[in-house]
Amino acid sequence: MNRSLMPDELKQTILRLLGEIAPEADLAALNPDVSFRDQLDIDSIDFLNFVVALHKRFQIDVPESDYPELVTIEGCVQYLQRKLVR
């Protein structure tokens, strides 16, 4: 499932999931290489909700030890690319 998603598609999906968690956020202004937790004021509950959303959307397990890789948009894209080809 979703194994053929391209980086742009992944990015759009990530932004959509973030938009559902922080609906008032200006996602277009996000710097993909800087922590979106800082840019959007995402707290630990929001972040957990985001991880759950990734888990549901892509059917992947996301251990807590991987959380640091998921704090930027670019990091999420790379992480998902790795996870989805396994």
């Binding site: 922080a22 509950i45 807590e64």
Partner: protein
């Protein structure tokens, strides 16, 4: 007959605006069921019924500003016969001024039909231009429907509230409550540093066993520890009423939630001490989500018996909070940081958190406050028992 009153949802609330009814006349309502939605200075709140029965009358209309304690509806309790209600005896409800989007809560004159051009006085036209009001949207109340300066003025001052307006109102509300707190409550402050090593290790292992959606945050361990510690020092769990403290038989921890647009609310997680960590996590997620979506319930705002606020994620190490009246205590939690710690004579690195207590000196003293913080610490050393 039971009167359904505008509830107070905080010491600073004086009135609310009825957004809409969730029930109609003749509907059955059960105690605790959502009966109305009310807009307050802080947020739109779902109001629960305190009675079970049939809706006999809906008195307040959507758009009405209703003072706290005013009758909004009449509920015929089970077994009671239908009765005529003395409407004249009920308090008057102020209608909202012009420009309520729904047009409810006031009487709007019918528009004057068939006019090819706008009937507006020159002075009113000039004022409309100055205030940025579109006169074509107004209904004139002057002779033959002419739009007057008063019509323009009314529309200008009664525009739908913007996000900035709401934020300003919330700031004012918080300011009023905090000023009252500092004016009336003789605060004292204590803090202690708690070794979180065992709790964090336990949490890591526990989360490995849990599906992603059921994982716990360390915050719920802290909230649960506070709730259980209140059983040991119950004087901190209650409200100041009149000239005395009243302990609450139930522990409803209010959790401070920052809103993205600014401001904060602290809804209650009911019976916090009786919830498992998994249940507490779900309830915590739920109230945070609904606080930010503006769908909290009235009891969640009126029932907290103590507040817990955490600023650890903002990098703060120590919080000395202001008590939210009429509560008599507030617990502040900081960031978990690695610090040198002596364990069995050896200096080791441990994750620690600073827990602070702001308490009302009319109700407790430092001795009891200290016992409370010690109890929180002790409970966190046995995380599996929380």
């Amino acid at each position: 007959m039971a009167e359904f009153l505008m509830p107070t949802l905080g010491s600073d609330m004086t009135e609310g605006t009825l957004v809409g009814w969730k029930k109609k006349v003749g509907d059955r309502v059960v105690k605790g069921e959502i009966i109305a939605e009310v807009d307050t200075e802080k947020a739109a709140i779902e109001i629960e019924s305190f009675h079970t029965g049939l809706i006999e009358r809906l008195i307040a209309r959507p758009g009405d500003k209703v003072p706290v304690g005013t009758v909004m509806a009449i509920i015929r309790e089970e077994g009671e016969p239908a009765a005529k209600v003395a409407v004249e005896a009920l308090p008057e409800i102020k209608p909202v001024p012009q420009a309520s989007p729904s047009g409810a809560g006031r009487t709007i004159p019918a528009p004057t039909p068939g006019l090819g051009r706008l009937r507006i006085s020159p002075a009113a036209r000039q004022l409309a231009a100055e205030l940025g009001v579109d006169p074509s949207t107004l209904l004139g109340t002057g002779p033959e429907g002419v739009i007057t300066r008063e019509d323009v003025q009314r529309a200008a001052t009664a525009r739908p509230e913007t996000a900035i307006d709401r934020q300003a109102r919330m700031r004012q509300t918080i300011a009023a409550a905090m000023a009252r707190s500092k004016r009336e409550i003789p605060h004292y402050y204590l803090s202690t540093t708690i070794d979180m090593g065992r709790a964090m290790t336990w949490l890591k292992e526990e989360n490995l066993k849990r599906p992603v959606a059921d994982r716990l945050l360390y915050g719920v361990l802290l909230i649960k520890a506070v709730a259980l510690a209140l059983r040991q020092v119950p004087e901190l769990n209650g409200l100041w009423k009149g000239n005395a403290a009243v302990q609450s038989p139930d522990i409803h921890v209010g959790v401070a939630v920052s809103l993205r647009q600014g401001g904060l609310v602290a809804p209650a997680i009911h019976h916090t001490d009786k919830l498992s960590l998994g249940e507490l996590m779900k309830r915590f997620q739920d109230v945070v989500k609904r606080a930010r979506a503006g769908t909290l319930r009235s009891s969640e705002l009126s029932d907290p018996t103590i507040t817990v606020t955490s600023l650890g994620e903002q990098g703060v190490e120590t919080v000395f909070g202001v008590i939210y009246p009429p509560q008599v205590a507030l617990v502040g939690l900081g960031k978990i940081v690695e610090r040198p710690w002596v364990v069995e004579g050896q200096v080791v690195s441990r994750p620690v958190v600073t827990a602070s207590l702001s308490a009302d000196h009319r109700v407790t003293d430092g001795h009891r406050g200290g016992l409370f913080l010690s109890a929180v610490d002790r409970l966190l050393q046995e995380p599996g028992r929380l």
